[in-house]
Symmetry: none
Subunit: 424 residues, 2 copies
Amino acid sequence: MTNENKNIERAEILTIGSEILLGELVDTNTAWISTNLAKLGVGIYRHTTVGDNKERVVAAMKDAASRADLVITTGGLGPTSDDITNECLAILADLPMVEYAEARAHVDEMFRRFGRTPTPSNYSQALFPEGTKLIPNPLGTAPGALLDVDGTLFATLPGVPAEMKGMFEETLAPLIKERTDGSIISRTLWFAGIGESAIAERVQDFLDASDPTVAPLAGAGKVRLRITTRAATPEEAEKKIAPVAEEILDRLGEYHFGVDDETLESAVARILTEQKATVALAESCTGGLLAKRLTDLPGSSAYFREGLVTYSDEAKERLLGVPTEMVEEHGAVSEPVAKKMADGVRRLAGADYGLSVTGVAGPDGGTEEKFVGLVWVGISDGNGVEGKRLDLSAWAKSRSSIRERSANAAFDILRQKLDGSKEF
Amino acid sequence: MTNENKNIERAEILTIGSEILLGELVDTNTAWISTNLAKLGVGIYRHTTVGDNKERVVAAMKDAASRADLVITTGGLGPTSDDITNECLAILADLPMVEYAEARAHVDEMFRRFGRTPTPSNYSQALFPEGTKLIPNPLGTAPGALLDVDGTLFATLPGVPAEMKGMFEETLAPLIKERTDGSIISRTLWFAGIGESAIAERVQDFLDASDPTVAPLAGAGKVRLRITTRAATPEEAEKKIAPVAEEILDRLGEYHFGVDDETLESAVARILTEQKATVALAESCTGGLLAKRLTDLPGSSAYFREGLVTYSDEAKERLLGVPTEMVEEHGAVSEPVAKKMADGVRRLAGADYGLSVTGVAGPDGGTEEKFVGLVWVGISDGNGVEGKRLDLSAWAKSRSSIRERSANAAFDILRQKLDGSKEF
């Protein structure tokens, strides 16, 4: 049914769901899809969100089709009566809804795996406009639909991010790639330990240039520079991007921790793996956030030994050997305690590195001396132990910002140590 | 200029900015505005996002005006040539742009405070369609515009969330309040341990009803039902919502864990605080996620003692007393190990409850017997210890889904234990 010859130049994204429309959920899918469409060289014209209302969904589909070659919808593929996306697509295309045997079998198979029995409503997920191609959904019960309607290709994806992403990457992206001319290719350089304006000052000439473009974006103690160009082949793009990236790194290399999808924790993981080194964590105010982030990564058991979330002073003493007198004299949020925690957990775990965080994450519990946002990071490598003070009081109103920024700073301190960019 | 007599019933939100359209930034403003409009009793029809392109912005404004009484825009109020929102509004309304002396003075005042000198482009922020009322912006240089265009009220707000929120709350919300009848009030009931379709079957009569409406939403092992009504006063709304909530809880009470903003961890935290009880955690595959989520909450030190992320078998033995032979015989992902971990950490920390998770989060490392998605949760309370098996193999391709759902299940198991809904 799809017009295999027509190039895809313009796309729109249509989000379907009253929970998004009413603001109960923030829509992160649309940004993800946009980024990935842009990488494929597809121009994005509009994002639209409508609620679970047939008339309005059909109207929005029609509007989008009048402008775009490709319309990707998310949401409204579930088993309840609110889930109307495919039905609306059938109305738009003036096609009957028919049951797809393979989709029905998929519902059965997924329920068998959960050890549950499908209800009649679950089988509504096997109904599609006649002639639809299915987009397989290995993570959920609802496949998506792929249907050409008067020259506009519609792809319906579920709202659950993991399902949507898998389906986009496995089925949609390869299909779009075949129908675009060249691609927009970009490389993202990541920096920490330096602010956005300080970076901008050093690379203003690139920010003012037009091909490649270089755009900064900052958040949570990290800054990224995105270098973008359009080219027929990846090799051609590389020729334009590489010299710019090289010159930027010449100027800012000491703050650089990764490219593209790399995070501070994945940079740390990469270097630890290369060096066959291990790390152990002792956390107080971050409460497991560092351990969580390090173990988000597959294969983390190679370099991550253990993490202790020692929230109470008693646990700091019993597990890490932080003496009661030290806490009494300096407070739990202090350089000596951070250092003792880092060294204690390194010894306990028999790891190469020990990393610790202790601070006041707030919103309550701050005093003049130990204010909300005061954080100490400790790092130990067997040759020495060091403490670094962070003042995150500018984010005193946000416990999550303080925790996030503390974790970023701690990972960056470990990265610099591993990189050899800083010696004890 | 504004039609003071016309009620505001339908609103649309228009986001203007290429960085949102291209997915470089996630738009959180729209959800925030939607929630706040819904509270004011205004129905929301559509969200639209367009890039920094005059023709497309004007077209989107026109589309929105054809459907809505109120159109709120965010973005495009800055000093650069990309910032075109007010100019587009002037084109739509066919009005000249004129300089507002008070806005020019505000630019001067803000720059004086920063200790900087405005450039000519900064004064572009003092230009508005003739006849506009200004929306003061105490936090930034750009005021917003308030203009009636053929019966649709346009309000332009900046994209910076803090500025946008302040302007909405201080100027826009009071104005909207005067032009609406009553408010939309809703209550959300949260459930775990039961699927969306099973819930829908038991309360289908409410899902089909129109006042209050009841809408389901599912994700990551939790389901919520949102009960919504429109009423002149909160008391009147309560009279309509309370009997529906009561009847739903009569049918589904055993799966119910919280209302409105409550999460599984905040439900656990609330009950632990009420019971003056404490918990300690031993995590393997979740790698600190449970500790992180429990300590996301302010005041968590009252009930959270410590969390051990024992990733290696050696750490399980040394810290928690899980014998090597047990791991060798049953594997690290097994009922005896989960139970030993839960009991071990409870004893070690001197806590009332011990909660443990051990599983195969993948994507690699699965075998036929210990497949990716096999998870054991252990719970110990001093009277006994119990293990519960989870089969999350349906999410085998998503490490983060397995970890998220494992944490949700573990918190729900603890909640049921605390609630007394389940005895050992």
